[in-house]
């Protein structure tokens, strides 16, 4: 068996990763899952490494998931959030980056409202950069943990039918997932109101439908997206009630899906908007497993990037 080797300094997106690289991250995550099940949930691997968590946008789940992953690998972590950082005092992003670099961290985990910021940072610092979400562009570790969860249940990704339902246009989760799933040979269907469907999305090698039933029929995996209620001022849909009627996943609607379907959601959920509580908590839901797997996947990414560092040095 040829051993796959990780050589990238950064994980800015899923786009451009090879199937072998994706496979390596998922296989490595498989091994790290066991660490979280031990009585002592810590290994000394990244002892002496410094990881900066730079969150310019609020996040509870992703940031705590990265933080737990870092702690379980014995890295020293440091948190910056937008409210307390000097960015709110007028410093440019590049200056923030250079100042951080001067403190010689090994890895930087960054979330930012603007697409491309992690990429820009990666070009300017020696530290490895992990994109934890940039605008509506990419959220690679979310797509990886989704793929990991699917693989755990279905044993593979290739040939699976995955339907993603909701606000496609404003979702970075979707973009990363499309790249990953199509790279690994899954068939992706996108569903949502026309106002939430980006133009030319079919060029990404996916099928688009405009009603929920078509998305549910024959799907192995259903991924529900959060309706971003804060965007509702832009009138993407008439009312929450109408959205729930047309695109909300209820037990009744689920009858059209396959018997072994799994239901996913990247969180945070709006119960009663895109998903009914009885489905979110029901037997097909793997939503909390996604959260648990997020830690293992992020440990794998931190481990691979921290190791790849050495080659450049």
């Amino acid at each position: 068996m040829a051993e796959a080797i990780w050589t990238r300094k950064d994980l800015v997106g899923i786009a451009g990763l090879s199937p072998a690289e994706i496979q390596l991250i998922l296989d490595t995550a498989d091994s790290f899952r066991e660490v979280s099940q031990r009585p002592i949930k810590k290994v000394p691997t990244l002892r002496g490494k410094t990881v900066v968590n730079l969150f310019f946008e609020s996040s509870t789940r992703t940031r705590s998931s990265f933080e737990i992953a870092e702690k379980r690998l014995s890295a020293d972590s440091l948190n910056f959030s937008s409210a307390s950082s000097s960015l709110s005092k007028g410093e440019t992003l590049v200056d923030t980056a250079l100042n951080l670099q001067a403190m010689a961290p090994d890895l930087i985990v960054i979330r930012h409202a603007h697409p491309g910021v992690p990429h820009m940072l990666a070009d300017r610092v020696e530290a490895g950069v992990i994109n934890a979400g940039d605008g509506a562009h990419e959220h690679p570790t979310q797509a990886l943990l989704d793929a990991f969860t699917i693989r755990q249940h279905k044993g593979r990704l290739e040939g699976l039918k995955v339907s993603i339902v909701g606000d496609i246009e404003h979702s970075r989760v979707v973009r990363s997932n499309i790249h990953l799933l199509t790279t690994m040979g899954a068939q992706v269907t996108l569903a949502g109101p026309r106002t939430m469907m980006p133009v030319a999305v079919d060029k990404m090698g996916v099928r688009t439908v405009y009603n929920l039933d078509d998305a549910l029929a024959g799907a192995d995996v259903i991924m529900m997206l959060r309706v971003q209620l804060e965007r509702q001022s832009r009138l993407l849909f008439p009312s929450v009630k109408e959205y729930f009627t047309l695109f909300g996943l209820t037990r009744e609607r689920l009858k059209r899906a396959k018997r072994d379907v799994i239901i996913m959601h990247p969180g945070p959920m709006n119960r009663g908007v895109e998903i009914a509580s009885e489905v979110a908590d029901g037997r097909y839901s793997v939503i909390l497993e996604q959260v648990a797997n997020g830690v293992a996947v992020r440990m794998a990414v931190l481990y691979l990037l921290a190791g790849a560092q050495q080659e450049a040095a």
């Binding site: 051993e3 691979l304 050495q310």
Partner: protein, 187 residues
């Protein structure tokens, strides 16, 4: 191992290896009794088939099956910051809690002692065994840490530019111990 390996000579064949494993299994049972609190733990990669062979022999002697544990020490290595490409992390699988158990760590070759150091650190994170013993197929000397084995198959002397390679029928198709010359790659 960087560099190419070239066979210098075969040190032990399958028949000799079988006798060695049989003797070691007897020693392990003699010292510990074939009790339920005995657990063999193989260090990945070739400590695993070695532990399996020992367990099979102990089962033959004592008449009851012995489940083995598998230990991956990648996360505990002391050379994470110096090796170019990090090894692939694989799963550790222990058959049950190790508290108050007598563990016999199994590895194919004992050399610098660094692998065993990492394995001890890894084990301690899983619990508090009553004692840990070490069984190796080959002891080739030249330790860099104060570590010794409790059970040794054979002691061989090898130079720094030589490698002792143990192969097992269950994973490699054949039981053999070889002395190899390491041809360093350019660089």
């Amino acid at each position: 191992m960087s560099g190419e390996l070239r066979l210098k000579k075969t040190l032990f064949d399958d028949q000799q290896m079988r006798r060695i494993v049989r003797r070691m299994a007897g020693q392990i049972v003699e010292r510990n009794g074939g009790g339920d609190d005995l657990m063999l733990v193989g260090i990945r990669t070739r400590g695993v088939p070695f532990a399996e062979s020992l367990a099979a022999e102990i089962e033959r002697l004592e008449g009851k099956p012995l489940e083995i544990g598998i230990l991956d020490i990648t996360l505990y290595r002391d050379d994470f910051s110096t090796i170019a490409a990090q090894p692939v992390v694989k799963e550790t699988r222990l058959p049950g809690p190790i508290d108050d158990q007598t563990l016999v760590l199994c590895d194919d070759v004992l050399y610098t002692g660094r692998t065993v150091r990492a394995a001890l650190d890894a084990l301690i994170d899983y619990g508090r065994p009553r004692s840990v013993q070490l069984a190796v197929m080959i002891d080739r000397g030249d330790r860099e840490l104060p570590i010794q084995a409790d059970y040794i198959g054979k002691t061989v002397s090898a130079a720094a530019d030589e490698s002792v390679e143990v192969r097992f029928a269950s994973t490699d198709g054949t039981d053999t111990v070889m002395l190899m010359a390491i041809k360093r790659n350019h660089g």
